[in-house]
């Protein structure tokens, strides 16, 4: 995907050193290790509480192939997808905006040979590394609870990275249009309903048909379906359809974000 980016970029936007930003992020999070760790625990708390507690209220639910699975096995892939989304969106919107407007960190970086593309790739790269570690941790917890039904579950890790990249690219593109903190209400407005309604906690069948169609358009729905197929081992060509959704998102997000990088970072 890298060669495609070049066409959108002005000369001198890239020094080939996004790794320096990742080094900066790892150094910083070593000091804030507790905050770093908290990102792993959040979905685990949800899994333990909801899986056990809500599960006791509803019993088993139909899995992707219609056969019943435990409530915990039902929501775990949903939580994995949602946590990939939440992390990527937080990193590419709030975090980027804070570093840009308040900490003025990017000003300092752009005074060095680093260009806007180094900054964007470095930040997205770090978001993916972190998201990947969280996903790996969560999958291990799932394995520990016996919630992984097939070896296909190994592919849930790269799938989580694809989902995270897609949301980060679109998030970065959105941030380039943000003017003030008030605009971030719109981010919450997009993310929270998605988290709650994209079949994370209960199946699509509870909705009337028109609402099902709306939910089927949401990106998180496709992420949840993708993860649920992989962790329960119900794998078919349909999963490629879900994957395609994210390929399109990545393409669109990267195209807009790279065009808008100068507007975002250089004045």
């Amino acid at each position: 995907m890298t060669p495609l980016i070049w066409r959108f970029l002005p000369a001198g936007g890239y020094a080939g050193r996004p790794g320096a930003l990742i080094l900066r992020s790892t150094t910083a999070s070593r000091r804030a290790w507790l905050a770093f760790l908290s990102g792993f625990f959040e979905p685990v708390f949800y899994l333990v509480a909801m899986g056990q507690g809500l599960g006791s209220l509803v019993g088993a639910l139909p899995g992707p192939d219609g056969r019943p699975i435990s409530y915990a096995a039902f929501i775990a892939p949903g939580l994995l997808a949602a946590s990939a989304m939440n992390g990527a969106v937080f990193d590419s919107t709030y975090n980027v905006f804070f570093k840009l407007k308040y900490a003025r960190l990017y000003d300092a970086m752009l005074a060095t040979p680093l260009g806007p593309v180094d900054v964007a790739l470095g930040e997205i790269g770090w978001a993916l590394i972190r998201g990947g570690l969280y996903a790996l941790g969560f999958l291990s917890v799932m394995a520990g609870f016996g919630l992984l039904a097939s070896p296909w579950a190994l592919l849930a890790l790269p799938a989580a990275l694809v989902v995270a990249f897609a949301f980060a690219a679109v998030g970065m593109a959105a941030t380039s249009f943000m003017r003030s903190w008030q605009d971030f209400d719109l981010v919450t407005l997009a993310i929270l309903p998605m988290f709650l309604f994209s079949t994370t906690f209960y199946p699509l069948s509870v909705y009337p048909r028109w609402l099902q169609i709306v939910v089927e358009c949401l990106p998180l729905f496709h992420a949840v379906e993708l993860m649920r197929g992989l962790t329960t081992g119900v794998v078919g060509l349909g999963l490629l359809g879900h994957l395609a959704y994210f390929v399109v998102m990545i393409g669109g997000g990267v195209a807009v974000a790279s065009r808008r990088l100068d507007a975002l970072l250089l004045r």
Binding site: A11, G12, Y14, A15, R17, A20, L23, R24, T27, A28, R31, A32, A103, R104, L105, D107, A108, M109, L110, A111, T112, P113, L114, G115, L266, R267
Partner: protein, 315 residues
């Protein structure tokens, strides 16, 4: 691979011709010509909003120019931004240190942005903390440092790549007198080591202390250029007599004009420009005027600025 435009620049590190910067409707820089030679300390003097910082950001290759030509280190910022930035150091107007890192990490990580090796930045950080007198705060976070310490760290950070050219945007704004003098001493040391510096300031004493040559900017254009003493000689007199009057006894400027080369009226006092302040003081008394207080001082860049723009500098 290196464009050969260096020849017509002599020893010039920065050359600007008709440089312009427009933000939407507002034109911050409206055609500026500047030449900075290797080894000199060059100043941009002017009030807030004069276009100094915009000019600096263009020289620092972080803000694309809207018009005119610009060469930095013989290269064009529009095409070679990263290569130029690799060889300059930038001290921005507001400290933008990384609050999530320690003092030492700030220097090391910043060095890594330049692609310097780990071993090199480790050594360099130690040396620079010494320079900035921050060695005993090496592993502290940045946040609790005093304003002067943060400023010194920002300057140390700008030196991590051994720059040929150092850009300092209002380096001492907001610092107490002691911190300012310490900073000036460090900048002087850099000058002796041969580092070319470009400084913006709205402090006259700072420009007189530090700069070999300077331009006075106002409203996006250069209104005067020269060394501090040249500018004073050209646009002012040797001495200034400052008079403060009781509002009721304050004479009209016209009454005092025969006694000096030039008279400026400020809200709180009157300035009489003259070669011999004490002599003029006597003349004023002999003419029957009774100021509440009077003061004779050397003429400064402040007076040059007042002369050129009709305004005092710090509003």
């Amino acid at each position: 691979m290196i464009p050969v435009t260096v020849s017509d620049m002599g020893d010039g590190l920065v050359q600007a011709r008709g440089l312009r910067k427009r933000f939407g409707e507002f034109e911050a820089v409206r055609g500026v010509d500047v030449d900075v030679a290797r080894g000199e300390v060059f100043g941009f003097l002017g009030p807030n909003g004069a276009g100094k910082s915009s000019t600096m950001r263009m020289i620092g290759c972080v803000s694309p120019r809207t018009g005119g030509s610009l060469q930095v280190l013989g290269l064009d910022p529009a095409a070679d931004g990263p290569r130029i930035r690799a060889r300059i150091g930038v001290v921005p107007q507001l400290d933008n240190l990384d609050a999530e890192l320690t003092v030492r990490q700030n220097l090391q990580i910043y060095g890594r942005y330049f692609g310097l090796s780990k071993a090199h930045v480790r050594e360099k950080a130690t040396e620079l903390m010494e320079f900035a007198r921050l060695t005993d705060r090496a592993d502290d976070p940045v946040e609790p440092l005093s304003g002067g310490m943060k400023r010194r760290l920002t300057i140390a950070r700008a030196l991590v790549n051994d720059p040929e050219l150092l850009l300092l945007d209002e380096p001492t704004t907001g610092l107490d007198p002691q911190a300012r003098h310490l900073l000036w001493e460090r900048l002087y040391r850099l000058k002796r080591e041969g580092v070319t510096q470009i400084i913006t300031t709205h402090y006259m004493d700072e420009a007189e202390q530090l700069c070999d040559r300077l331009v006075v900017m106002d409203g996006g254009v250069i209104v005067a250029e020269g060394s501090p003493s040249e500018l004073i000689a050209r646009h002012s007199t040797r001495e200034v007599l400052e008079l403060r009057f009781d509002p009721e006894l304050r004479p009209a400027a016209a009454e005092l004009e025969p006694l000096a080369e030039r008279v400026e009226e400020l809200p709180d006092r009157m300035l009489l420009y003259t070669a011999d302040g004490e002599h003029t003081q006597g003349e004023v008394h002999r003419a029957g005027h009774r100021p509440q207080s009077s003061l004779v001082r050397r003429s400064s860049l402040e007076d040059v600025f007042l002369r050129l723009t009709g305004r005092t500098l710090v509003d």
